[in-house]
């Protein structure tokens, strides 16, 4: 289908991986952090009694 010179290089995928990594780091990481911290929101929690 492709001649050797025309075949898309596998190494070009690195640009895509880098872009996805940067987007993940900038946008997804804060969302994941917030979601983790908010996991107990809305749940009634019984506090442990203080140790005597």
């Amino acid at each position: 289908m492709f001649h050797k010179n025309e075949r898309p290089s596998k190494w070009g995928l690195l640009y895509l991986v880098l872009a996805v990594s940067i987007l993940f780091s900038v946008f997804i990481v804060p969302k994941v952090a917030l979601a983790t911290v908010e996991r107990t929101r809305g749940q009634i929690v019984t506090a442990e009694p203080p140790e005597k």
């Binding site: 990594s21 780091s25 804060p30 952090a33 809305g42 749940q43």
Partner: protein, 459 residues
């Protein structure tokens, strides 16, 4: 894609993933830590208020007090100990509440254990803590409310700051990586250019990389390879030149007798001659034919010997060799009025006897051609050398390097007169090569010549 780009991209991806992971861990830990602190502070606050109010109620309450009085006392005391965010209820009755929310809707309490809930009210994150207090068999629910929205906004702010810092780190890392890699890979580009030059026929370029790493090793090996290629090319060019010279000399040597034969034949055909004259012309034709025959025989011998890298050498008595040479040379020497003096101090020698015999016959023949009648030729075997010495006309020093070249003759006319064709010493060189020895000439014009065969291995 260039190597520096591949490595830069891979390294950057790893940096991005690492900084992202670190940011995530730090955000989660920081957020949880801050939230836990807020929760703990509020729980402690609620516990203190509850303890203070219940102690005060217990001490002020009388068994005979009416429910209205008890309620008023409760309200009075909670107002004394409470903050605006404190709420006191008893069942469905709200005794004290300065906030707008009904905590029972979010955190229904039915035991003395402290409980809490974080809930979203009007886009704010509200922490409600509470516990049940029983005084004189009446249950009261005391709540403390706290706004923890800042904990979550802090996480968002930190996340934005991390994203900003990470972007800066990634950009800086990328720039440094690219510069570093280009610098590190510069020697590789130098190597590539040198390889291209070598491929296009430039053999005198060498790489001056003196690093003590893999690239330095590669550069040194490349230089060694270039040295080898250059010397092989040089040797091939020399060999090609030698063959060209050989062919041109051969053509020249063949031309002379052929021209002679052709001339004689034309004379025979075109000129009226006496029987005697015809016989003279036929004799000339015969001589030239014999010359061509000798030429072709010697050429064949040289070709056969050149094709061999080694020959089978057997340990043979040197005196047997020299006796054989003396016998074979006797007629030739007698014809020229020369004598042969032999001196032997060697016992045995690894040799191919026939080849060495023909070699020394050749050398003795040359010595004979250079000598005057009545002279002596010496054949001496001593140490690791067998030499043939004559006291003839000798040769100039500058000729010695060329006398083993095929068809080379110092005095062409004298050599032809003696039947020489200029291949004898070329043949001798091949025989000496097969015996892993050296052929050395020492000569002085007017004094004589010594031809030495220096052997490597002597038994």
């Amino acid at each position: 894609m260039k190597l520096w780009r591949k490595v830069s991209l891979i390294a950057l991806i790893l940096v991005v993933l690492a900084t992202g992971a670190c940011s995530l861990i730090m955000l989660i830990r920081s957020g949880k830590s801050n939230l836990a602190l807020s929760i703990q502070n509020t729980l402690t606050n609620q516990q203190v208020r509850a303890a203070s109010w219940s102690t005060a109620m217990a001490s002020e309450l009388n068994a005979s007090d009416s429910s209205v009085a008890i309620r008023s006392l409760a309200r009075y005391l909670i107002a004394k100990f409470a903050e605006p965010t404190t709420i006191l209820r008893s069942g469905v009755d709200t005794i004290f509440n300065n906030t707008a929310l009904n905590p029972n809707d979010y955190l229904p309490i039915s035991s003395a254990a402290q409980q809490y809930i974080i809930t979203e009210i009007d886009s704010r994150s509200i922490l409600i803590t509470g516990s049940q207090i029983t005084i004189n068999e009446k249950d009261y629910q005391l709540y403390v409310v706290s706004d923890v929205t800042s904990v979550y906004t802090n996480i968002e702010t930190m996340a934005r700051q991390f994203a900003f810092i990470n972007s800066g780190v990634i950009a800086l890392t990328g720039a440094i990586l690219m510069l570093l890699l280009r610098a590190v890979l510069r020697p590789v580009r130098t190597l590539q250019k040198s390889a291209a030059a070598l491929a296009s026929g430039v053999y005198d370029q060498r790489i001056t990389i003196s690093q003590d790493d893999e690239i330095g090793d590669l550069a040194r090996d490349f230089n060694r390879m270039t040295d080898a290629v250059e010397s092989h090319i040089f040797a091939l060019k020399e060999e090609a030149q030698r063959r060209t010279l050989f062919m041109s000399a051969l053509t020249h040597e063949m031309k002379t007798p052929v021209a002679g034969i052709s001339g004689c034949a034309q004379t025979l055909l075109g000129t009226k001659m006496t029987q005697e004259e015809q016989e003279d012309v036929l004799m000339l034709i015969n001589q030239e034919c014999l010359r061509i025959e000798r030429l072709s025989q010697k050429l064949m011998q040289i070709i056969v010997l050149k094709q061999e890298d080694t020959c089978e050498l057997a340990s043979t008595s040197v005196s047997e060799l020299l006796d054989g040479v003396q016998t074979s040379a006797a007629a030739l020497l007698h014809q020229r009025g020369l004598s042969l003096e032999i001196r032997n101090e060697m016992e045995t020698l690894p040799m191919e006897q026939d080849l060495l015999t023909s070699l020394f016959l050749n050398l003795i023949d040359n010595a004979g051609k250079a000598s005057q009648p009545g002279g002596t030729i010496e054949l001496i075997a001593q140490g690791n050398t067998i030499s043939v010495t004559d006291h003839g006309c000798g040769m100039p020093q500058e000729e010695l390097a060329r006398i083993t070249q095929p068809f080379y003759m110092i005095d062409r006319s004298r050599a032809r007169k003696n039947g020489g064709i200029g291949l004898g010493l070329a043949l001798a060189e091949e025989v000496v090569r097969l015996h892993q020895a050296r052929l050395v000439f020492e000569s002085e014009p007017g004094v004589g010549t010594t031809a030495k065969v220096v052997f490597k291995h002597v038994s």
